[in-house]
Amino acid sequence: MGSEFTRLFELVISASLINNFVFTRFLGLCIFFGVSRKMETAVGMSITFTSVMIISAALSWVVFTKVMVPLEITFLEIIVFIGVIAGLVQASDTIMRKVASGLYYKLGIYLALISTNCIILAVPLVSAGEKYSFIQSLAFGLGSGLGFALALIIMASIREKLELADVPVPFRGLPMAFVVTGLIALAFTGFSGLITM
């Protein structure tokens, strides 16, 4: 039991810090740059993303392990995962609109953006490849959500200050954001080797 929890904890730390999906694996960058201009959009996106991530990780694991592996059609994983995620996002959009309309007004715009996020496909794919158990893939999904949230919030706080700074004209806006992201990614390499997996 102890080693089980340690393994889960290692998974969360690995997905959020050591192999951060944005800064180490360079995934989900278009959403990252688009949403990190203001702190409130960044926080909204992080919350929506983490919740959708966990649910889709669970659903994809069930479809993969219980249906696709016994039928030996695992080569279809990319198509099937995308289908599952798109369906999930659409259904949650419809359901949220009715059930929690206040929440929908605040966070509904991010739902559609999430389906185009690379990370949401990467997590089930990695879980399938590494043959995680159900709980492990949930932990992995949670870790990825936390890592994405961390990346967004760091970036948003820096970019809000950048708005007021004296940036040279060719670098204003996106180029400066890329430079800053590169520097943060450099800093995150300091985490490598923290846990040997």
Partner: protein, 386 residues
Amino acid sequence: MMKRPVDKITAVLLILILLVAAVSVAHAGVGGGIEAKEKVDLKQLMTWTLVFLAGLGTIFGFGLAFAAKRFSVKVDPRVEQVLDVLAHAHCGACGYAGCEQYAEAVVKNPEVAPNLCIPAGAGGAEAVALITGKKAEVMERIFSRIMCQGAYSTSERRFNYEGIQDCRAAVLAGGGDKSCIYGCLGFGTCVRVCPFNAMSMSEDRLPVVDLDKCTGCRKCEAACPKKVIEVLPSSKAVLVACHSKDKGGDTRKKCQTGCIACGICVKVCPFDAPKIDQNLSRIDLDKCRVCGLCVTKCPTKAIVDFIPVRGKAFVTDKCIGCQSCKKICPVSASSGEAKQKHIIDQSRCIGCGLCTAKCPVQAIDGTFNAAEVFRLALEKKRKTAA
């Protein structure tokens, strides 16, 4: 094309590098879960693939259709119509989180007033009232007023500030670089925040409000870290443009146009509107009749008259010689014998409008409130006649 030997070697090297990259990519990447097999049963594979994909598609299709039906939200078409009419500044002046929220609230809730969207103006309020079947009262326009005249040249600075040129940043540096801690810092946060481009910075680093564009959305009021912006109805046009609670002597040292609480305004006001409290004069806006007398008497010019042009009063032939204007005039500009047409000395008249309002036969014209006074008198006549 590839004549020289060095070109051929480069080409071969490139191909080798590409091959190595291709091979390594096949091993790297985000994972697979795909293992190589010795034999592949193609027929079974094809059938299961088709069955699985078709099944998944069907399940999802039905699931989504069911969700759409079960969780459908009936959208009142009137909400869309109201949304079209609103100003969409997302300013929050109506008190709701966004334009959509207000549109929904005004259509669904019978208690919500249709004229809360201030940027949409009277036209918008009427349109919303029409759509929702409510009555709209004409709300008075409100403007933002800058309660500070301490420009760069007329006020002192405590230190040289070389930080971010934004008031919200400057205020973090010990309350800002101005000697007077109650005054406007002049870095233009309000100008940047205004969604209607109604504010601009003057040459002397004071914000200037364009009254045609200002809608009273209160964004500048919220953004100002010194809280020198007050949003007030347009009729409240004589204000003490200073928030300084420093003693008179200190205020004078720090700023040439600050209120020194000398009390002259309190003495001259015929309506007892200004009050001195904590070394600052504040005008009671309910008592003030916007006559502008205190403006002329203030020694530091701290009180500002926001009426752009004050026309001088003159007496028309309707005058019955009742002497009411002579009694009420604060500068004794009106003169005349009883039962004779009175005359107003244009050089003394300050355009306060008190005589225009007081005259029982509306014989005085020319002041800023003349049109309003005549309109009200006409309405009263119609009411008593009907």
